[in-house]
């Protein structure tokens, strides 16, 4: 930051002034003079010293400073003239208009300080992610209610139809065991305990038995269920797996090997 020394050895920084009024306010304060009785000659001298320096530094936008300089010089000259005292007229101080402007300007400088504080608060803005929020109010219950189970079937069937033969085989083979696993967990949601027989929907299908049995073994292995059989060849009872010790009146047939 560049500094100069003027005659009164007041230091000030260049470009600190928003305009000639700002500079004048500064000079008046520094000189600690009464604004209603500005020693114009002294202030003009300091003002011109600054201007001269600024001109040397090739600062832009000095025209307004020059206009003020001429105003100041005009006031100074008016003050040098003898005042014709006319008792009827009020004495018009040649400085009064300038003083009014300075006071008005100072008022706004103070307001600007207040505003600067407020503006500084907006240095940071905390913003929400503006992109479309993820709520699908339209993918609503009612929309789902318009879909029926046949839509599901049709959709699924067309998906299957588009799969390659290889994909279908892989895919189809899994369906049945998975289906039994699903049925089992569904039943276990509603009941504490279910019977193996409940997994069999179509009694005539051997595949049903095989898949159900494989599903049970799979679930046991994955610690989803526990199974018991109270008597030989009796129905297998299926319970949700719990880490607690099994009660003694049941014989565990947990089969880790599957």
């Amino acid at each position: 930051m560049e500094q100069i020394q003027n005659d009164s050895s007041h230091k000030f920084k260049l470009q600190e002034f928003e305009g000639p009024l700002d500079l004048l306010l500064f000079l008046i304060r520094k000189s600690e003079v009464n604004i209603y009785d500005i020693p114009i000659a002294e202030i003009v001298e300091q003002y011109l010293a600054y201007l001269e320096y600024a001109a040397k530094k090739n600062l832009d936008n000095l025209s307004e400073f020059y206009i003020m300089a001429s105003t100041l010089l005009y006031i100074k000259s008016k003050m040098l003239l003898p005042v014709e005292v006319n008792v009827e007229d009020e004495f018009e101080d040649p400085r009064s208009e300038l003083v009014e402007r300075l006071i008005e300007y100072q008022k706004f400088k103070k307001i600007s300080d207040l505003m600067s504080v407020k503006e500084k608060e907006s240095e940071w803005i905390i913003e929400r992610n503006k992109k479309q929020r993820n709520f699908s109010f339209v993918d609503d219950k009612e929309l789902w209610e318009e879909v029926d189970v046949w839509d599901l079937l049709q959709t699924f069937s067309s998906i299957v139809g588009n799969l390659s033969n290889e994909q279908i085989i892989d895919f189809y083979e899994e369906v049945s065991i998975n289906e039994k696993l699903t049925l089992m967990s569904e039943l276990l949601d509603k009941n504490n305990e279910i019977l193996f027989n409940e997994l069999i929907i179509n009694n005539s299908s051997i595949l049903e038995f095989v898949c159900s049995f494989l599903a049970v073994l799979d679930a046991v292995k994955n610690k989803i269920i526990q199974v018991y059989q109270n008597k030989m060849f009796g129905d297998i009872r299926i319970k949700k797996y719990s880490a607690d010790k099994l009660s003694t009146d049941n014989i565990s047939h947990e089969n880790k090997e599957g």
Binding site: N134, F137, W144, F156
Partner: protein, 179 residues
């Protein structure tokens, strides 16, 4: 523990996020311990359950999210719902049908069948409570498997998943022919 300030901070984070935010990200932002974050989320969630609160703190895949309570959706739909979309998206039905017919099924398997990412759709179906996590598949990585829920059965007026209409008539034939 009172955790007032922690609660305020995490509430502000949930407010600012528009997507689900996972607990590790919250830990990173807040510089709080996992225990404190979990505890605070639990407290917050309970507070949001109050009927005078407008959102639920929901846990869905990918993290936590504030979501306007469902009973208010009727009012909110007009202004905040996506317009020009009064039909369920094809993707949603497809994904649901695959999960319904092939459960338990992993996300990867759904993606294989549909050929596109299933992330968003699975999240949607989870939040609609039509599917849920049912276990983990016994393959490397132990991916989560999904299945349908009681709400799914209710919606499609099924007593049990075994009442889903079967493919047999049309596609089983094709399967047999080619099998």
């Amino acid at each position: 523990m009172k955790l007032e300030k922690e609660e305020a901070l995490i509430e502000a984070i949930l407010f600012l996020e528009s997507d689900p935010i996972d607990i590790n990200t919250i830990i990173k932002i807040t510089d709080l311990s996992k225990e404190v974050v979990s505890e605070t989320i639990k407290n917050l969630r309970e507070k949001y359950e109050d009927p005078s609160r407008g959102m639920d703190l929901t846990e869905i895949v990918g993290g936590y999210q504030l979501i306007p309570k469902e009973e208010l959706w009727g009012y909110l739909k007009v202004r905040y719902g996506k317009k020009n979309e009064n039909r369920l998206s094809r993707a949603a039905i497809e994904t649901l049908s695959i999960i319904a017919y092939s459960q338990p099924i992993t996300r990867g398997e759904v993606e294989n069948i549909r050929g596109v990412s299933a992330d968003g759709m699975i999240r949607l179906l989870l939040s609609r409570k039509l599917i849920r996590e049912v276990g983990k598949k016994d393959i490397p990585g132990k991916p989560v498997t999904y299945g349908t829920t009681p709400d799914f059965l209710k919606l499609f007026k099924l007593n049990s998943i075994s009442d889903l209409p079967k493919l047999e008539e049309t596609d089983l034939k094709r399967f047999e022919l080619n099998g």
